[in-house]
Amino acid sequence: MSFERIKEKLNILADAAKYDVSCSSSGSTRSNKSKGLGDSSGMGICHSYTEDGRCVSLLKILLTNHCIFDCAYCVTRKSNDIKRAAFKVQEVVELTINFYRRNYIEGLFLSSGIFKNPDYTMERLVAVAKKLRLEENFNGYIHLKSIPGASDELMREAGLYADRLSVNIEIPTKKGLKLLAPDKKREDFIKPMEKVKNEIIQYKNEKKIIKSTPKYAPGGQSTQMIIGATGENDYQIMHTSKFFYKKFNLKRVYYSGYVPISYDSRLPQIGSQVPMLRENRLYQTDWLMRFYGFDVSEILNENNQNLDLDIDPKLGWALRNLHEFPIDVNTADKRMLSRIPGVGMKSVYKILHARRFRQLNWDHLKRIGISLNRAQYFLTCNSKLFEKRDLSPATIKSLILQNSSSKYQKTLSNQLSLFG
């Protein structure tokens, strides 16, 4: 292989793939049984981190950035004047294997612009995965993009070789999609997602009866939404997210703050700030929904359509629901413990274990690692010293903010002044 030519292609096709934020390599069950290469049965591993602080776990590339579509938000759109390139199937296979052998990566994340037609594109993605599995005996992680419009037969085959499949809905609302990608319809994204979901269920059921049933996409499905390209509020975004989690059993929904890449007047202009803080708050809400037992409507609803930027969403919820507090950490159940601001799920489990040995006091809680600055207004423990004043939500909020320095302080003052 010619390294110079590969280098050039890699630069173009990695650059074009980087706006896909998913880099997860966990959740699969593929182990190395026949003395082959690789294993993805453990937890995911981030082998490096880019200077923007994002994890590098998979070799994330496009097969090609030639595309027949012209979606305004996409850097690979047909009308964009950029260098184009395409990998051969064998080149992707060799790169993956050689990077993997050196412990650079956990596996491959392969996406593509759509050339000729969806089936032609999907066929090539599947060919790469198939070759890695069958010819190279590769058990590393493979994440393939489901190409909207690809045939059911190809989607079925894709799941036999890939650990995870994903299709990005990109724009949270149908209205926004119509504005930015008039050639695409929501249904085009949903069809392959539905197909994969049904196959996963079917293969799982068959496996219960016939043990030798092959694995089908053991890492499940995910999707991604762009944040801040169209005018959606957080309420719309998170409700769309909930819909996709529920309806398609998704493993993850990713939120990607829009990075301006175009002078198109329908979009935020080049040079405008990436909404990273908002993105962070959306992820926190996503976590509350998946791990903390919150329903989205408790945090975002008709009356409260946007997340606070200056405080985290759990604290925001607690301040709107002061009647639920204070909570006694020595008697409360798991559900309520996990609702105390400043107490993460790991601390919840530590509290549950430790309190079987003795009544916990402030000192214990501090040593366990909960954030007292936030938590102190919302709990009681084995101590007479606790907040007895009848404080208003606004007062609590300002007391907490006085004593904390957000890592986003700089961004915050900038972004807040925009709304001010």
Partner: protein
Amino acid sequence: MLTNSNLIYDGTFDGFLSTIFHVYKYKLDKVKIQSEFRSQNQLFAETQHVETDVIKAERVWKGIKSKASRSGYIQLYYTFLSEELGVENLLLDYIRYMFNTKIYIDKNYTNPSVLKVSKLAKSVGREKHRMEAFVRFKLTKDNIYFANIEPDFNVLPLISKHFTKRYADQSWVIYDLKRKYGLYYDLCKTEIITMNLSADLTVLSKDEAVFATEEMDFQKLWKNYFKSTNIESRKNMKLHTRHVPKRYWKYLSEKQP
């Protein structure tokens, strides 16, 4: 009963367990356990070398396993590998509490020794995970994938299984420069080895006599990839160095100038 004894062992886990056996057998109360590499003479204390005895060690380990949950005895071993000064006495405390209590104690975070052990075990676990991530193999001319590491804690015993399972079809060596021993997998089994590493083979050597011809090309491709996949307008060096602390940079080919 002896009140002040200074027990010296050989620094191995078996040696440590043999010392625990000794402590229990002679019902010693006030003891200080030290590795022979670290020992300091204490005034007014009787110093004694404890022989490593695999059979005694095995008996103690069995006893621990019967009194601890799985995560409890794993934490104990991880904590030992931290090589932290005074870790032996911390673990003696932990073991005594364990043997004196009817229920599993590894989750009693209100006990100072338990909390300390769980924190140290967590740090060692984090270092293990980091090594699984940050090892960078370089292909040598004789077809061995070679990597150096200098972990904060002695994690080679912990990462052996991971690499053996993953790289079953290639020979590899991971060498701990700090502790002067390594793991070698020869396509059948993984063994502990010691070598005389010439200085020029260490770190990111570009020696063409040692490494395969395509090795530098792949390092270049990887470095290029690392650059292309970054989003400049989201640059956040603080977050970057939190995830990849600077002390690891010299082993990461993507971080080389």
